[in-house]
């Protein structure tokens, strides 16, 4: 009976399936029905952003959101290279003014020790307004609607959308000063507070005072009532930042979210009792003046940025670098930003779904993971990466750029065998620098996505030299066209001179055993660590891998217990100082908990570092950097490793795709053609129902013999 009913219903079901398959919208479309034709940028995030409060946000995945919402006073020019700061909310890029101990102004070239105070006076543009936000909502009498909520009023609210009223107001200098004071707030835990406290006048003192007076207060701390000598309001649109010493790189910090404006109303609103318990915090709901505002924060699924209706309308850059015109990246010159109305970031923890959805047109851009590399990229006869035919068929484009970062292997200079300035250890390190073949490593483990490093400074940053002048002569020679790694015989000679012929101690005959501390991230790291072992074995040196978990590794590094280790650094700002400080003695990790993980110390290098830090970009600074590089290349505290290359893929409907490795607010420059996207999505995602029908029919057919057997058994007699 049931079987007969099913058989009768089957053609109808198949017809329905067929009709639905012929419908307009692809079945695998993961978005709402009405979103396809809108100017929505679709992308991914892989980890929940921990902090969206500008005072504590410091990682790339957080900057993806905070960069679009908050507006510091300066930003990086979208198109120009080398990276250049331009005003964002400020009327001009702030320039330092120097003052002596007597309070008199000093010229720009004044010696560092004569400078007692550095002042940055910043004027912001008038008329900039905050995004609509309930913290800024005011009633008819001017009082804030949501600043004195009763517990029962808060109890029924869980998102900002639960507050009906919103308001806005003009951005003032006070908002910038208020945020600088927030760096010292005892409960906000800014990761850079201690560091900036070395420079900003009175910041450490304010932190101590707040900890003492407000240490147990979990409510609103009105920082406007506290004075901070290092940050003060001059007038509604002007404020000053005062530093205790010369720090020319400070202007780059002004482009980071730590110096973005935060209205005091935000703290007053979110600090009300019961707010934090309902996940209503500034850490979750940023409040800025930027082109976008975060309207949905569901990091378990997606984050949505929408155009800020109060955005003042910055314009697209008028000029770029040579080649930008040909790429079409100047076609939008002078047009009002932003071009995209909304941005949907979906949670994708795994590479395969992300890659598949990109190919299906559901993400506008994608990186290239190791798993998908061969599908996307092939090497041209001259060794250049190019797209595979499958990518070209879909008109997918590729952009590559060297990241302002370095991945290196460091030697602990406190170690009695591998560390120290004695020739024996130095020659050993030099020999290893030659033996560990990073060209091979990049080819095998990074699919060619990297550039062997000649020193700590990545390409594109002042101080890095291209060509013959930029090579590390300890490791490379110049063949007229490119650097050539010295042969293994050179390394063996150095090793023998160091007293380890064939990898054995010349005096005792004992084999040289070195220890590599690495973070064990599972099976993926094993081939790489084995590769390092083989590289050391080329010199007869035994390398013992001590793979450990992340926490133990950090502990070892803090105590200076590791002998050889793997590490990396991504630029905070595009200045050589941000890489050379990784080798500056007073930044030693074991002694001072700084970022100099090798605990390298060289008096000449340290003196040159202080000099370099203060010099403006020019031949003099380049000469100082050259000397510093010569010192560290000779001392070889690192195997210099490589600078990773970023490969970005994007669809034909995504415009102004020029990568900018320093700017975090690039979304406002991008363009979209949603009609083309919708057309391609339909073409690429027509469901294939045929195989499903065939499988169903086969399954039904295979059940027929079983059915007959069943019937036969039912009719069979007992004997």
């Amino acid at each position: 009976m049931i079987g007969r009913l099913l058989l009768r219903a089957l053609p109808g079901c198949l017809a329905c399936l067929w009709l639905v398959a012929c419908g307009e919208r692809p079945w695998n479309d993961p978005y709402e029905a009405d979103t396809g034709a809108r100017k929505i940028y679709y992308s991914v995030f892989q980890q929940r952003p921990k902090h969206l409060d500008p005072v504590s946000s410091y990682s790339e995945d957080e900057a993806l959101f905070t960069g679009q919402v908050y507006e510091p006073v300066v930003q990086y020019h979208f198109l120009k290279r080398p990276y250049e700061l331009v005003p964002l909310t400020a009327t001009a890029v702030p320039a330092p003014r120097y003052f002596g101990k007597d309070g008199n102004p000093l010229p720009d070239g004044a010696p560092d020790d004569a400078i007692a105070e550095v002042v940055y006076r910043i004027t912001i543009k008038p008329g900039i307004r905050f995004q609509p936000h309930p913290a800024l909502a005011r009633g008819a009498d001017g009082s804030y609607v949501y600043h004195a909520l009763r517990p029962e009023e808060i109890a029924r609210r869980h998102t900002l959308a639960d507050f009906a009223e919103t308001g806005t107001r003009e951005l003032t200098a006070e908002d910038y000063v208020y945020e600088i004071k927030r760096l010292a707030h005892p409960h906000l835990h800014s990761p850079v507070a201690s560091f900036l406290g070395r420079y900003i006048e009175g910041l450490d003192e304010l932190a101590q005072k707040l900890a003492k007076e407000q240490g147990t207060n979990r409510g609103f701390v009105d920082l406007r009532a506290y004075t901070l000598p290092g940050a003060r309001v001059i007038d509604a649109h002007t404020y000053e930042i005062r530093l205790k010493e010369k720090y020319p790189q400070f202007v780059y910090w002004l482009a980071m979210s730590f110096f973005a404006p935060v209205p005091w109303e935000a703290d007053a609103f979110f600090s009300q009792p019961g707010m934090k318990e309902r996940n209503l915090t500034l850490d979750w709901y940023p409040l800025g003046t930027g082109p976008y505002m975060l309207t949905e924060n569901n990091p378990n699924r997606r984050m949505i940025l929408m155009r800020n209706p109060n955005y003042r309308g910055e314009t697209y850059p008028e000029a770029g670098e040579p080649g930008d015109e040909a790429q079409g990246w100047l076609a939008a010159r002078g047009k009002t930003l932003p071009f995209i109305d909304e941005a949907y970031f979906s949670l994708e923890k795994e590479d395969i779904p992300e890659w598949t959805k990109f190919l299906q047109g559901y993400y506008d851009t994608a990186g290239v993971s190791s798993d998908s590399f061969d599908q996307a990229i092939r090497l041209s006869p001259d060794g250049q990466p190019e797209l595979t035919d499958a990518m070209r068929e879909r008109d997918i484009r590729l952009l590559t750029s060297v990241q302002p970062s370095i991945s290196y292997v460091g030697f602990n200079m406190l170690d009695p065998v591998i560390g120290g300035a004695e020739p024996r250890a130095r020659l050993l390190r030099q020999a290893l620098s030659i033996a560990v073949d990073y060209e091979e490593m990049i080819s095998i483990f990074a699919n060619g996505r990297g550039e062997p490093a000649q020193g700590p400074i990545p390409p594109g940053i002042f101080g890095h030299r291209d060509g013959a002048a930029g090579i590390n002569p300890v490791v490379y020679t110049w063949d007229g066209r490119r650097p050539r790694r010295r042969g293994i015989e050179d390394a063996r000679r150095l090793l023998a001179t160091a007293g380890y012929p064939e990898g054995r101690d010349a005096q005792s005959g004992a084999p040289l055993v070195l220890y590599f501390d690495a973070i064990d991230s599972g099976v993926d790291t094993k081939p790489l660590l084995n590769w390092y072992r083989k590289q050391f074995a080329k010199l007869g040196i035994q390398l013992v891998i001590r793979a450990t978990d992340y926490n133990r590794f950090q502990e070892k590094m803090l105590k200076g217990d590791a002998q050889i280790y793997g590490w990396g650094w991504n630029a905070d700002y595009p200045d050589a100082e941000n890489f050379l400080f990784l080798l500056y003695g007073p930044n030693g990790k074991a002694k001072f908990q700084g970022e100099n993980a090798s605990n390298y110390q060289n008096a000449r290098f340290d003196a040159l570092f202080l000099k370099m830090r203060s010099l403006p970009g020019g031949p003099e600074r380049q000469a100082v950097i050259d000397e510093m590089l010569a010192i560290v290349r000779d001392e070889a505290p690192w195997l210099w490793g490589f600078h990773p290359k970023s490969y970005a893929l994007y669809h034909a409907w995504y415009g102004n795709a020029k990568p900018n490795m320093m700017a975090r607010n690039s979304l406002k420059y991008r363009t979209l053609d949603p009609d083309l996207r919708e057309q391609q999505r339909r073409a690429w995602n027509a469901p294939r129902v045929g195989p499903v029908i065939v499988v169903l029919l086969v399954m039904m057919a295979s059940a027929i013999p079983a059915w007959f057997t069943y019937r036969r058994r039912q009719r069979a007699g007992a004997l």
């Binding site: 504590s56 201690s194 318990e277 996940n279 949670l347 598949t356 294939r688 039912q714």
Partner: protein, 325 residues
Amino acid sequence: MIAYLVRRLLYAVPILLGVNLLTFFLFFVVNSPDDMARLQLGERRVTAEAIEKWKADHGYDRPLLWNAGAHGAAALTETIFYQNTSRLFRFDFGQSDSGRDIGYDIRQRMWPSLAIAVPVLLVELLLAVTLALVVAFFRGSYLDTWAVVICVAMMSISGLFYIIGGQYLVGKLLRLVPISGYDHGLAALKFIVLPVIVSVVGGLGGEVRWYRAIFLEEMSKDYVRTARAKGLTERGVLFGHVLRNGLIPILTGVVVLLPLLFLGSLITETFFAIPGLGSYTVDAIREQDFAIVRTMVFLGSVLYIVGLLMTDVSYTLADPRVRLE
């Protein structure tokens, strides 16, 4: 029966304490409060002072289990273990180390977990029982042999293979459903189809083989022979007797799982980007968020204990011969 249940509930208290203690030890053997602070604050430019401030702010500046500096009961209560554990027994989960309300997150995330777990349980149960009955019916035939071979093969394949294979076949090649993601309400349907199919197929081999064994054992019993001897059809024997008696161990096995459905699946939710409690736990472990880890382990233990109690009760309902005393 009530006395039995009360006794079992009282047993639960030391069990939960033990589980908490074990979780606490395991977590803090691998992670120190300094590590947790470093992970929350980030790796760059973080000073020892910032770490100390974070620890003090989150209550991780206390001793782990015994506060030698305190007097009387405070030596026990002014510790990380006591401060964290005592709240759990009041079902006050507090805030995660990153500042989120754990109770709210759990309430939000249990629905996507249930949206996957409930259909998987029902469909798998129905399919597995049906197939096991069919296989049992054809016992000793080629169909039975091949069914067992296929079941063993399906059991031997890793769950990850089903997930990746399912995503490739259904999401990428056939383009029938989104390959990953989630939405609320009815829009969630298209997202849960694939994880449900993959989970059902992944678990079917083991289930069918187990249920087949149960049914075959029932079919070899005297009452089945008697039923056949009385002239009942094979269908009548199977559905009227074998299935009813075979379902007792199956249902009691299922009942213990019911409360755990809330907790979701760690792997499936991660691969399909389902915002459920399974991925919540995985994320918390990865981010070394002890507040969430201890809550989820505690909740898992409570639900497991509840499940075992429900199993005991269901025995009495399914088999009148069983009495709880």
